[in-house]
Symmetry: C2
Amino acid sequence: MKEKRIYNFNAGPAALPLSVLEEIQESFLSLNGCGMSITEISHRSKEFDAIIDDAIARTKRLLKLDDKFHVLFLQGGASTQFCMVPMNFLSEGQSADYVSTGTWSQKAIKEAQIQGKKIKVVASSEDKNFSYIPQNIQFSSDARFVHITSNNTIKGTEWASYPDTKGVPLIADMSSDILSRPFDPEPFGLFYAGAQKNMGPAGVCLVVIRDDFLQSVPDNLPTMLKYTTHASKNSMFNTPPCFAIYTVQLVLKWLEETIGGLDKMQELNRKKAQLLYQTIDAGDFYKGTAMPDSRSLMNITFRLPSEELEQKFVKEALANNFAGLKGHRSVGGCRASLYNAVPLEAVQALTDFMVAFERKNR
Amino acid sequence: MKEKRIYNFNAGPAALPLSVLEEIQESFLSLNGCGMSITEISHRSKEFDAIIDDAIARTKRLLKLDDKFHVLFLQGGASTQFCMVPMNFLSEGQSADYVSTGTWSQKAIKEAQIQGKKIKVVASSEDKNFSYIPQNIQFSSDARFVHITSNNTIKGTEWASYPDTKGVPLIADMSSDILSRPFDPEPFGLFYAGAQKNMGPAGVCLVVIRDDFLQSVPDNLPTMLKYTTHASKNSMFNTPPCFAIYTVQLVLKWLEETIGGLDKMQELNRKKAQLLYQTIDAGDFYKGTAMPDSRSLMNITFRLPSEELEQKFVKEALANNFAGLKGHRSVGGCRASLYNAVPLEAVQALTDFMVAFERKNR
């Protein structure tokens, strides 16, 4: 039976490759013929070892990480990383720079402040409702790290390239654009990404950490909140979220073997975003909310001439099988998330719908 | 096609009801016909609201929890609870009692000590390799809470009934026997359970917390580590592990509607455990490691006359489709975990195999 499937523009949890979903479904009662479901096998089994080791190896190949980087799969989402980063890396007397580019940056900043850590917000785009990525930032030369949010899911902005911090290590929340494009990992001490946008289902968070950052973790932290705990146990100090890691492994395999790696993925993501931005920019009915030089390739935010039309647009879109087009509840408007697994055809269908909607409603 | 399925005696992640796995598989590409997978829908959608609300309602009905109890579904497993419990409930000058009945109790104790919290280990069964549950414990009348481990997965012991703490609230790690039997929740301030044994897949932890415990949580903790954060947002402060919660919901439905509730579940669990203990006790070839009055109905630990025979037993069992019979790597021997989803037929088949193995090898 052919299942009904719709165009999924959710901001996260979000679309996954159909071939991955079909593989999970196919083997759900008996993983590789072992007689047990992926949800039933031991995390200490050879079956699961093969899954997590493959997921780590593929992450390293895709992101071109050499052996000084450790790949971890943790629980608690990016929100737990907001707390762990300052807890693990800012000791008495040390300070860090944070760049504030939206809701998630603000949350990261708040979690450092709650712990009484010394941080400095060196740049912010709050003056223009976070519609741009700040440029020419003066970083503190003695900062322990610089924290940025690589892509702002809610505001629809993205760092086109990462800032030159003059040698201060970068830490980035890459939840909503990880694996969407290649980048040089060298300047990074750590980066993290909740999986539920470009990597897999909710319930697992990718953390990539550099050796020297691991070495500065203090001993006296709660065990689950120390990066060293998870690095020394290959993310299996306690029972890991096996199903989520398995799905991530299959998505990484799809990215390597079906898409062909991050250069190819970026090319496709650019094509998708250009198509949608062109439709938005073609007239004055749709209006993008992010500054052109700061536009995200992942989350495309736009407004219509009135809130009534926006509601009508979202409603009619859903009736035409386009899901997830409502903007985040904190900002309103519309948003289409074009993560890796959203196919070009979905964007073509959406832009056709947008052109027809404009014709009927302008 | 009929999938190959084997008898699963894993200690966790562990067996799930086949009907639950089949329902997940059936609707995996399109949940309730919505056109998206459970791994792709928004946690802010009406579909997911229905799932988490139903999971909470069923938990409350099954455990007979009134409205002073809050049901949370968190990430990080019981290991994160080891750290959150003292962090949230032991302020300056307060002290708690802990009972040490095995590896997991010891880990809970260690996490309180790392934080410099004042605790007292009021009883321990370490003198006899944790083979029994201590009785007639003298609790401190001024303790903030008493922490126990209701079932010891590794050592095969279980509290037959909970201790009378003379009004001091109990906190329990119930990871390996939650929902296996009814109990009175009134003496508990909090209890928690990693889902991957009796409730669902790895990646979600049930936490039940009483109103007065919520009210004593300090404000200045990291947001993700405060119980109040999760209670005030119905476990959706950040993106929850949707797939794991969905599976838990289906397991709870099975427990209510197919099994018929916790009294029925306990009856079945007793029958399964009695069958296996009878086989162990029938001669001197198999030898149970837990004291008879402290035996677990969930994890049944036993030895054979030699380590060679134990290895042969585990190997031949696997060749005959019995998985997960090796004891925990820290103690050796054999262990069969008879969680809720392990059917009586599986235990019957195992005991037949054990009788035949003994006949050939004694």
